[in-house]
């Protein structure tokens, strides 16, 4: 059943207990987004160090399990990584959701890949794609902003 694929254990867990929620201290960049059709919101905060690595990041948001889980998984995936990694993973993630491609980044652990891939069930639910991708788009704009 597709529904079970969408609402996997991992997603329910991240949705109920999102990691890195709140406003992280000393953030250097932030961006927010909003889905006007449903009212979902996300606000991403991140602290870039001088090596252009994300030293810390967090998010605030309201929304469905998918959107919260996606933001939560995002924060776990990119913490400590540098900008080129972040661009690559964000683009890969958005592609995965839209075009059903696989994530293939060497520096990710098998566990991390499984976690991220848990969101790929969204493909079958076109109206929910935005829920899953919003945080990742927002991360990209946070990085571009100064």
């Amino acid at each position: 059943m597709e529904l079970k694929e969408l609402y996997q254990e991992i997603i329910l867990d991240h949705g109920k207990n999102p990691r890195n929620k709140g406003k992280c201290e000393g953030f250097t960049n932030d961006a927010k987004a909003h889905n006007p059709l449903c009212g979902d919101k996300v606000h991403i905060y991140l602290k870039l160090n001088k090596d252009k690595q994300i030293e810390n990041l967090s998010f605030e948001g309201e929304g469905c399990a998918i959107s919260l889980a996606s933001a939560s998984i995002l924060t776990e995936t990119v913490k400590g990584k540098d900008l080129s990694f972040i661009k690559k993973i964000s683009e890969d993630f958005i592609k995965m959701i839209k075009n059903k491609t696989k994530i293939t980044i060497n520096s990710l652990t098998a566990d991390q890949i499984t976690t991220i891939a848990s969101l790929s069930g969204v493909q079958e639910f076109p109206m929910r794609v935005k829920c899953a991708t919003m945080a990742w788009h927002t991360l990209l704009s946070a990085i571009e902003k100064k």
């Binding site: 609402y7 009212g39 929304g63 399990a65």
Partner: protein
């Protein structure tokens, strides 16, 4: 036709959704169409189609006659005094935009007040917001109370000698509150303030009598009345038909066109620019036939029965919170479910063939006030029955199972 058996008049219900029979609880968003209406559209295109009001050949005459006969039918259905008070538009949204634009142009100046409520759909706020930005008008919001009602006093308190128009919904598409529109119109008349009623949710559920309600403007979306897409109605009191400037400009709405100046047609014609939605108008006559055959009061009491059953049933589930407790309620049942977001509910319900809507339903002001960013909404149409509610209730339980709550 028997309401108990009405589902079979709607072809959509022969569809299966995810292998399950369709439980359609999204009629406040848009209603499904009876076969008669759908057939009328095809039949019209196949046998009588032509542009209306422009040519004199047989097809044009037939199309024009049917088109104008529908105006007569709408007039009668709404008990409007004059046929010229019936204006065809694209949607209730366009109806309200037309009034805001034409009325605003002539009668709204800097500092003038427009009185709306916290219940309003964006369609009955954004057009007034334009006047605020362009003209420096002020928008006042009559507050919604804890029950999701707007009390007549809260409107009364906000009326000043600067109030130029009151624009209120007939039925809230979130709390379901049926506002006391006749009383509000009476109140407004004492001070000579025109009233626009957003009847988008009201017209499919209530017996509408323009001469009794006596409002100045009443906006309707035909697609929520078992009618076609892309068609709205604006009732406009004769006095305003004569007074207000036209809205969109184009073919059909002019009197004389010279290089230096243009004069405009009279009556409804001046508000109907360009080629009209002939097939939609013609088929809407069948929607009214359908409603008349059943009787709008019978439809309302059927819907009320299903709604009451639904309220009762859902209240038994302790995790469900029902939004609003208005004195009198239209066919709308908004709720939230503990620890499960409305979007997730809607997606999971769909797996069981149950179609509801989740979100802010174009009422952000109201959701801000409620302190939530989304609700789940089941809305009832003539074709719903108690079994649909049972399935809704079971599907909600399934949600809780999926979320392991």
């Amino acid at each position: 036709m028997d309401i108990k058996n009405i589902k079979k008049e709607f072809p959509i219900f022969s569809q299966k959704i995810n292998g399950k029979p369709l439980v359609y609880l999204d009629s406040a968003n848009s209603s499904q169409k009876p076969k008669l209406v759908i057939d009328k559209i095809s039949n019209f295109y196949e046998t009588e189609f032509s542009n209306v009001g422009r040519s004199v050949h047989t097809l044009a005459v037939k199309a024009t006659n049917r088109f104008e006969a529908t105006r007569d039918k709408v007039q009668k259905y709404l008990n409007a005094k004059h046929r010229e008070e019936i204006i065809f538009t694209k949607s209730a949204t366009e109806s309200i935009n037309l009034v805001a634009s034409s009325f605003g142009k002539k009668h709204i100046n800097k500092g003038d007040e427009i009185l709306i409520t916290e219940l309003e759909h964006h369609s009955n706020y954004v057009p007034w917001h334009y006047l605020r930005s362009e003209k420096g008008a002020i928008i006042k919001f009559a507050p919604v109370n804890e029950d999701g009602d707007v009390e007549i006093n809260s409107i009364k308190n906000l009326i000043t000698d600067k109030t130029k128009i009151i624009a209120i919904t007939h039925i809230s598409n979130v709390t379901g509150a049926i506002l006391p529109i006749t009383k509000i119109v009476d109140l407004a008349k004492e001070q000579n303030i025109p009233v626009l009623i957003d009847g988008t949710q009201g017209a499919p559920h209530c017996n509408i009598d323009m001469q009794k309600i006596d409002c100045d403007f009443y906006a309707i979306s035909c697609h929520k009345m078992y009618g076609p897409n892309g068609l709205g109605i604006l009732y406009m009191k004769k006095k305003w038909v004569d007074d207000l400037p036209p809205y969109q400009g184009g073919g059909g709405m002019i009197n004389e066109v010279k290089k230096e100046d243009i004069t405009f047609a009279e009556e409804n014609t001046k508000f109907e620019a360009g080629t009209m939605q002939t097939a939609e108008v013609v088929s809407f006559a069948e929607s009214l036939n359908f409603i008349e055959k059943l009787g709008i009061n019978n439809i309302a009491s059927h819907e009320n029965e299903i709604l009451e059953y639904g309220l009762e049933k859902l209240r038994k589930n302790n995790s469900i919170k029902i939004i609003g407790n208005p004195k009198s309620r239209g066919s709308v049942l908004c709720f939230t479910l503990k620890d499960i977001h409305p979007h997730d509910i809607a997606t999971i319900l769909d797996e069981d063939g149950v179609a509801i809507r989740a979100g802010h339903h174009c009422c952000q002001i109201l959701h801000d006030k409620l302190g939530i960013n989304a609700t789940a909404r089941a809305s009832i149409g003539v074709y719903n029955d108690k079994e649909d509610i049972d399935k809704l209730s079971d599907a909600i339980k399934n949600c809780q199972k999926v979320f392991q709550i």
